[in-house]
């Protein structure tokens, strides 16, 4: 299409995404956002101004060629659009759904200055979903007759999957070791079905297998095999993408009462073990009539919305700062509000009160005010005197973050760690203090986003290739 004849769609707002009605969706675990139709996608793609310097690309941690794939969608070349994304992003169906676009690509979109930015995430998702239902995926099994080497990847979350895919495409024989019985890491145990359907994750994992990647489940590296045993056992390099699996608690009285969960436990029971289908599935979960979720991130939103779907009548999100400081994606906060989650902002829990049998009956809180900015640049909340009050709840879910699980680092001598227990790496390559061992994702950064973990997996794959080539 000649540039001069093209008239962009000048609507100030994004083409709305069809969603399940809030009253309906809080009774099921089906996906909330239903995705664009081809017509809607083309209409939205026409909003792109095709800026000369493509500021959106710089906002993407894996530098997807955003204007180019959007142009292909506009031309209805959906398959080609998908392949364009795939050049730099192995998991478009997932990123299109869970990336915080408003703080990445869409943040730099020129359209955002006078209205809403182009819905890059929705278009990415559209391209991936369209191809998944209409055509062949872009993966081709590489020739494994003479692999360039063998690499072990520990963990099958976004970092591990990306690292494995890139290495396989370069011609390496890759084995992924996953601790759970199902691969996918946080994509499977953490993010609920209504936000990221497990069939989407499954599809990406099948694609990976088509690339020749082997996945061994039920393998806790650090216990059944050490990283050193992998290196001694024929692997040329090891990538550790084991995630930040260790839940943080508040360290307030009453935290071991029955009815108090870490978000990790609550979500694992529901997402991985499918407790929402108990007793068809064996794993149960307890959800009271009233639930308080503590925290302001995506995990807190996920937990709150799961609690609603499991029948809670009242769900509070208790967060000690204001809505502006909430780290959750905008869309998740909006969806949670639409579904009836009540936000108790500038509120901090101080004590969980139990009954005689050891079950939660209330959460005692204090009100907060915002003071001076702290190290993170966010204004530090301080307690308002005399503001103690109680929320009557039967369930408390603690979603204040996770730190790297020490299981693998404790079993790997000589690995330098950060003060938070994460693995110390060179950010550009994922190299650790030990030759042949690379790391990336939440085990390096602490709990972060899917796309950042993927970016780290990608950089490490490149560095692993260079390392092995140099060694051989």
């Amino acid at each position: 299409m000649a540039e001069s004849k093209r008239k962009p769609n000048l609507m100030k707002t994004k083409v709305p995404m069809p969603v399940q009605d809030p009253d309906v969706r809080i009774k099921n675990f089906d996906e909330v956002a239903l995705g664009y139709t081809p017509e809607q996608a083309v209409e939205e793609a026409r909003r792109c101004l095709r800026c000369k310097d493509s500021p959106c690309i710089k906002g993407c941690p894996v530098n997807v060629e955003i204007p180019r794939f959007i142009e292909l969608i506009e031309e209805r070349k959906f398959h080609e659009a998908y392949l364009k994304i795939l050049e730099t992003n192995n998991l478009p169906a997932i990123c299109g759904r869970v990336c915080p676009q408003e703080s990445q690509c869409e943040r730099y979109c020129l359209r955002g200055e006078k209205g809403e930015p182009v819905a890059i995430g929705r278009l990415e998702r559209f391209a991936a979903d369209y191809v998944a239902t209409h055509g062949e995926l872009g993966y081709e099994a590489p020739d494994m007759a003479a692999p360039k080497g063998r690499v072990a990847v520990v963990g099958s979350g976004p970092a591990g999957l990306t690292c494995a895919a890139d290495l396989a495409k370069m011609g390496y024989r890759v084995t992924i070791f996953e601790a759970f019985h199902t691969p996918g890491g946080v994509l499977v145990y953490g993010i609920p079905e209504f936000r990221l359907p497990k069939r989407v994750v499954q599809r990406e994992i099948e694609n990976l297998k088509k690339l020749g990647v082997e996945i061994q489940t039920n393998m806790v590296i650090g216990k059944i095999l050490s990283v050193d045993e992998l290196l001694d056992g024929g692997y040329d390099a090891v990538f550790i993408g084991a995630g930040a699996g260790l839940p943080q608690f508040l360290r307030i009285p009453g935290e071991n009462l029955n009815g108090v969960f870490s978000a990790n436990e609550f979500l694992t029971r529901i997402n991985l073990m499918r407790a929402y289908r108990f007793p068809e599935y064996d794993t149960p979960v307890k959800v009271g009539r009233r639930v308080a979720v503590i925290g302001g991130g995506n995990v807190a939103m996920d937990a709150a919305r799961c609690a609603l779907r499991l029948g809670a009548e009242k769900v509070y999100v208790v967060y000690r700062r204001s809505e502006k400081e909430m780290p959750a994606r905008l869309e998740e906060i909006q969806h949670a509000k639409e579904e009836g989650v009540e936000f108790r902002l500038l509120t901090n829990p101080v004590r969980i009160i139990g009954d005689d049998d050891g079950w939660v009956k209330a959460l005692e809180c204090v009100a907060m005010e915002l003071g001076e900015p702290d190290a993170s640049g966010r204004r530090r909340p301080v307690v308002k005197p005399g503001s103690e009050h109680c929320l009557e709840v039967e369930t408390v879910i603690v979603a204040i973050g996770t730190t790297p699980n020490p299981l693998i680092t404790e079993a790997t001598p000589g690995l330098e760690l950060t003060p938070f227990g994460g693995i110390m790496v060179d950010g550009a390559t994922g190299r650790t203090s030990r030759p042949g061992i690379f790391a990336g994702g939440d085990i390096v950064t602490g709990a972060a986003t899917v796309i950042l973990a993927m970016g780290a997996g990608k950089r490490a794959a490149k560095a692993i290739d260079e390392y092995i080539v140099a060694k051989k």
Partner: protein, 275 residues
């Protein structure tokens, strides 16, 4: 993988299975456990490894059928496989430098303490073992454990085998007689471990207990198995499963263990209807 090569019925609803798992068998140390799952919609439950054979590449699990998962596990026969088996998890028991040990095992606890007693014997430690059970049918592994013990005492609630009474009656007598031990190892029902710990505290005898709380992942990820030990939150799966019995808040553990009783009952009833 995870094929059952031997199965024995040890007592009412108590079964032993020996499972092929060469990698776990190669690494396991006494005191460690596995997580297992028996069908595609199944839950993950922890099981202590009772015994292992590194050469054969097998681990042995002894369990009582109390819930749906253990009932389904009990229906597996030789030649069948366990769907998922993960391990070895948890910290191994530190058995170094122990010359004299008293092991107190209640009910199924014998199965759990078996590998430790065997290992202590291999290290030439002297082990007095007290096995307690409700009645003679529930006294497990007596013959198997005997060769590894210096003295073996059996005690039942109804006196149908050994002395009549409770494990603490025998333990108190031994301690009052002037027996000296470097450590007590207590494994069994929570109440038993609690009263044993209360008793040994009075004698200043260091006591290790083995916790078996509800777990989901078994790798430190969910915190479901947390308990208070000496005022600190610990995860049984990665910090334990063994802890200083004098520091464990047993009352809290007992309450937490009851969390899903209602659901466990529902699951068992539905299973029984189906069978």
């Amino acid at each position: 993988m995870n094929r059952i090569i031997r199965k024995r019925v040890l007592g009412p609803a108590v079964k032993l299975i020996e499972v092929e798992s060469p990698l776990i068998a190669k690494k396991v140390q006494p005191g460690q456990f596995v997580m297992l799952r028996v069908h595609e919609k199944g839950e993950r439950i922890p099981m202590t490894i009772s015994d292992y054979d590194r050469q054969k590449g097998t681990v042995t699990i002894i369990f009582q059928e109390v819930g749906k998962t253990t009932m389904l596990l009990g229906r597996l026969e030789e030649g069948d496989s366990i769907l998922d088996l993960v391990g070895p998890l948890g910290k191994p028991t530190d058995l170094q430098g122990l010359e004299r040990v008293v092991a107190i095992a209640g009910g199924l606890g014998v199965a759990l303490v078996f590998s430790q007693i065997k290992e202590l014997h291999r290290r030439n430690s002297k082990v007095d073992c007290i096995i307690g059970a409700r009645n003679k049918d529930l006294v497990l592994l007596e013959e198997e454990i005997e060769p590894f013990c210096t003295n073996l005492y059996i005690v039942t609630d109804d006196g149908s085998r050994g002395e009549r009474g409770f494990v603490t009656d025998v333990l108190k007598r031994l301690l009052d007689e002037g027996r000296r031990y470097d450590r007590a190892i207590a494994v069994g029902p929570l109440n038993m471990m609690k009263v044993v710990s209360d008793l040994t505290r009075q004698y200043g005898l260091p006591t290790v207990v083995s916790m078996n709380p509800i777990m989901v992942d078994g790798t430190g990820m969910c915190g479901c198995c947390r308990l208070t030990v000496g005022g600190q939150i610990k995860f049984a799966c990665v910090d334990g499963p063994e802890f200083d019995g004098h520091l464990v808040d047993f009352d809290e553990v007992i309450k937490r263990t009851a969390m899903y009783w209602e659901e466990e009952k529902i699951a068992v009833e539905l299973l029984q209807q189906r069978l």
